[in-house]
Subunit: 233 residues, 2 copies
DNA sequence: AGCCGACAGATCGTATATCATTTCAGATAT
DNA sequence: ATATCTGAAATGATATACGATCTGTCGGCT
């Protein structure tokens, strides 16, 4: 009894690989290859790719094929701007519903983040950052907004280049802002104040990233060669 | 030379019917029937439905089939809350980019809205309302946020019951708020003030709708009978 | 050498066919 | 009369097959 349809299976298969970076942006998704790898026909794979396309994780061009979405800088800006908006709102909506338990868990995660700064672990820092906000959003009463947050995060993950998500000088400030947001929530601040604080938290990170980028004079995003990231059979 | 793939054709076909109400919420989308009607096979139709599913316009259950999405009251609340958020942001982002031409066009539409109130034309009013905001969003620099606005509108359209989108006593206020928003933009107000004004504009409408609903004691949303809304061949 | 067109391989797009699951009507038993 | 069973019809899910389109390469021409 397969509890999961083959199209769902294909969806998870591809999605997993995009998330963990095995399929980098620009990697070409060939229907036939994926179908063979999963031992299914191309029809369910097409469906899976269509769904990923609707989620903006892959682009699909007629008679050409699909590839993991490439993020351009301007695209990145728009995504982060939207993310700031929905994260701010999600935080404000959740705030009045958070229990002391939530808050203490969030503080604990934040402490761990602080510790990852001593050892230099950008990847772990980023992970914990998502965990931190996930705790805050656990009680979010509006699933739509939560869904938008997740979409934003997924798009962010398409940037494997860590310089897009971690700026050394910025990390400490970020941890401090987390604490301040928790303070606001604990103090029962106005929802709008919480919303704007959370929003600024994201936009400040964005600004830091952009400053860091231009400072380090990174050349334009290059398209990775699909072949070079082929999965070894 | 068909510039449009059959799956896109099927998508537009269904989408059109959902938008204009021929397929009411709850209407069952039978793959085979739609395929025959379009004289294509079921494969492209499935793809089209998957895409609509990703847009939350239809629900698709394994081995059971697809139907036009049903909106529950709580769902409606979440949608409107999200819409208030993204419309507010879209308005604020657009504001500094609007030319006098945009503003005068918006005012003209708003005047027409005022006129529809004399004659009782709720449907026309709702149409013009979308037009009004569309003009404001023409220059929106963030396509993601604009996309979210459109998704919100589409979901709103699933509520064919006009009492969900038009409250007689509220309409006049709404027109007044439009003018006030335009005034703010024209005066070069702070983006945040514009954002909050636009947000309140939507939430106020929502509140009015809910008050109107409970006042008129509408029974719980009922699931329309798919058969009763069959298209006459 | 560089440009252009034809060919071949790869890949996508869709129709058709078959299998699986659900649904529902009608029969049967309690 | 109600509940349950059963089997056929409807519908969805997937595999396979074939045609269409694209892409890149090879050879000829200027």
């Amino acid at each position: 009894m397969s509890a999961e349809s083959k199209s769902q299976q294909a969806y998870r298969f591809i999605r997993e690989r995009i998330d963990d970076g095995r399929y980098v942006p620009g990697y070409r998704l060939v229907l036939g290859s994926i179908a063979r790898e999963l031992d299914v026909s191309v029809v369910p794979v097409r469906e899976a790719i269509r769904r990923l396309e609707a989620e903006n994780l892959v682009t699909f061009e007629r008679n050409v094929g699909a590839q993991v979405a490439l993020i351009q800088e301007t695209e990145y800006l728009h995504t982060m701007q939207t993310l700031a908006l929905v994260e701010g709102s999600a935080t404000a909506l959740s705030a009045p519903l958070l229990t002391p338990d939530h808050l203490s868990r969030a503080r604990a995660i934040n402490e761990r983040m602080r510790r990852t700064l001593d050892d230099f672990e950008p990847h772990r820092f980023t992970e914990l950052n998502l965990e931190f906000h996930s705790v805050l959003f656990e009680e979010c009463p509006n699933p739509h907004i939560l869904d938008l947050v997740h979409r934003g995060w997924n798009r962010m993950k398409l940037l494997r280049d860590s310089s897009f998500s971690f700026v050394p000088g910025r990390a400490l400030e970020s941890v401090g802002e987390h604490d301040r947001i928790l303070d606001l929530i604990e103090a029962g601040a106005e929802p709008l104040d919480i919303e704007l604080a959370a929003r600024r938290h994201r936009t400040a990170t964005l600004d830091a990233v952009l400053a860091y980028q231009s400072e380090h004079k990174s050349p334009a995003t290059d398209v990775p060669d699909p072949e070079s990231s082929e999965i070894s059979a």
